[in-house]
Amino acid sequence: MGVEGPRVRIERCVSRGLSRVTAQALGPYQTAIVRIGFGAAWLLFLLREWPHRQELYGPDSPWSWGLARQLIDTNDAFTVLMWSSSDSWFQLVYLVAVAAAAAVLVGWHTRAATVLFMVGVLSLQNRSVFMGDGGDNIIHLMAMYLVFTRCAQVWSLDARRAKRADGDGGADGDGSGDGSGPVRTVGGTGGVVLWAVFGAVLLGSTVAGGFSLGWALFYWAMWAVHGLWWAVNRAAVRGGAAVREMRDVCDILANLAHNGVLLVIMIEVCLVYSTAGWFKIQGTRWQDGTAVYYPMNLDYFTPWPELSHLLAGNGLMIFLVTYGTVATQVAFPFTLLNRRAKNVLLTFMILEHLSIAVLLGLPFFSLAMIAADAVFLPTVFLVWLGRRTTALGGRARRLMPGGGPRSPEPAPEQPAEAPKVPASGPAWRS
């Protein structure tokens, strides 16, 4: 050992880390819950705004197509709604955004769906930037990050399809477009059709000059990568060692991108809280313990004035919530070093967002924030939640008329036994 000691240890550490981030797409349950959360938040928002969609994003919104055109000329934000000022184009885009959100929620051809989801989110939000709030902002960011993740490894139609294909012998099945699993064909007929349709749409929009150079490169790269992954998987079923190795390298790259972006998502959530906390510490109202009193008296954020005034009337309560909020937000990133402390704070923040949803009338903002927080939920809890949901679903199905004692659906992706989480270890991994 001697001089070699620390070097060897560092080398071993690096190689262990390297094999972790290349061999697996980490956090399958966490990324799945983030996917489901943001898919649901955006889907519910779009459905809720259905009667108001024209006023928000339509060509004749008060923030009219012409006004949006002039602003977007100065900042180059991406939105397909600027391609045409016709009403039918707007309606189509809105419907596609709804469909993409639903597809992301259930994990149907997820890799393609997340791209379309991002197009929908960016197009609508960038079309009318002044209609949004903090909730829209976090959905905007996460929509872009989700594109790079393998977020359908569990709790998705893709995962179910992959599992069934494995059950059939695997080789020629209708495998998951997302699976980091064994060699198999990817996406099946549906995937090929989707890919062809996307290719045609991309070609049309590129020729028509719909994309800036950067966005054109991005979408074409995405499209090429999806095609390559399908082809490589197909070839690897019967191919030689070289093809199999190529397939493995692709798999490694996908894991790498997933893990990198998962880290970015976690850092982004920490930044949201820590910067919010740091700014608050500088505010006199957060210092004198009255800050929370004021939103309770703002006309735009008091759907239940009686309830808000009840809370606002209690000085001790306001003080505790005010100080508690700042303490939680500033402390959150550091509690990630300790599993138990992290989970306590996470619970606290989720509860706070639930009360914001009701008290301030911001349900979609709160849902989006909770979906972002969910990236830090422990695997044991998520697995338990998944099992409860499946059980409830099964019971509901039996209660439905004609449900009968049908053979139950294969439970979506659960390990045979509850995984044992090591008592210690970095909290952010759990």
């Binding site: 390297l18 006023e55 008060p62 900042n75 180059d76 390298v249 798999d251 957060w286 006309d299």
Partner: protein
């Protein structure tokens, strides 16, 4: 997130880097480096955009802005450093031309109060009620000087936006006449300090009246393209 959980979603196919050939290993190594640098850069940019102005963000402001805007921007400051401590209401009135040739000036109509009514008792208020007028007015105020003169393109855009919001809510006909000109004003009412504190503050509303604006067909619903 222990190995067992990973194995479930499909782990058998993983062979790891150790089993790869040398060229493949070099390729993966380069990719790891690229991804690492990319993430570090991205996080640095996003951090500098959200953090308060500091030595580094001042020096590299242009780079940060060109990377972060428009898609990676993060901007919500509703409650920091201090929460909003005043209710901002937007009122509007109009002069209307009657069929008999007379013109008449209407009373002030509180548009914000209409939003408030829609939000009251509503578990999921629409963005049209909660954000539209509120954020349009912020946009307007940010891009006008104290005398109500527009500052640059954004100033002009915000003015037409406000006009279009007002006309959407008024409609082309008001009090039996067609709307010719409109005027808006803001009424800022500070939230009274809590009863349980010994703080006293002036809660008299402050008015800021904007100039009269001629209404054109571009300001009416249907004239937006």
């Amino acid at each position: 997130m222990e190995p067992a959980a990973h194995q479930a979603p499909g782990g058998e196919g993983m062979r790891g880097i150790a089993a790869l050939s040398l060229p493949a290993r070099i390729f993966v190594a380069i990719s790891v480096a690229v991804v690492t640098v990319g993430i570090a850069f991205h996080v640095a940019m996003v951090f500098l955009q959200t953090a308060p102005d500091n030595t580094i963000s001042k020096r590299h402001g242009e780079l940060v802005d060109s990377y972060v805007y428009p898609e990676f921007e993060r901007n919500w400051k509703l409650f920091a450093p201090n929460p909003l401590q005043q209710n901002v209401a937007v009122h509007a009135r109009a002069t209307v031309a009657k069929p008999d040739g007379d013109t008449e000036t209407t009373g002030w109509i509180n548009l914000t109060a209409m939003d408030g009514e829609a939000i009251h008792g509503n578990p999921a208020p629409s963005h049209t009620q909660q954000n539209e007028l509120r954020r349009a007015w912020e946009f307007y105020v940010d891009n006008h000087d104290e005398k109500g003169k527009p500052l640059g393109l954004r100033g002009r855009l915000s003015e037409q936006y406000i006009k279009r919001i007002v006309m959407l809510r008024f409609g082309p006909e008001l009090n039996g006449g067609s709307v010719e000109r409109i005027q808006v004003r803001s009424v800022i009412t500070p939230v009274a300090p809590p009863e349980w504190s010994d703080e006293r503050a002036d809660v008299k509303p402050r008015y800021a009246v904007q100039p009269w604006w001629q209404v054109t067909s571009a300001d009416l619903p249907g004239g937006g393209k």
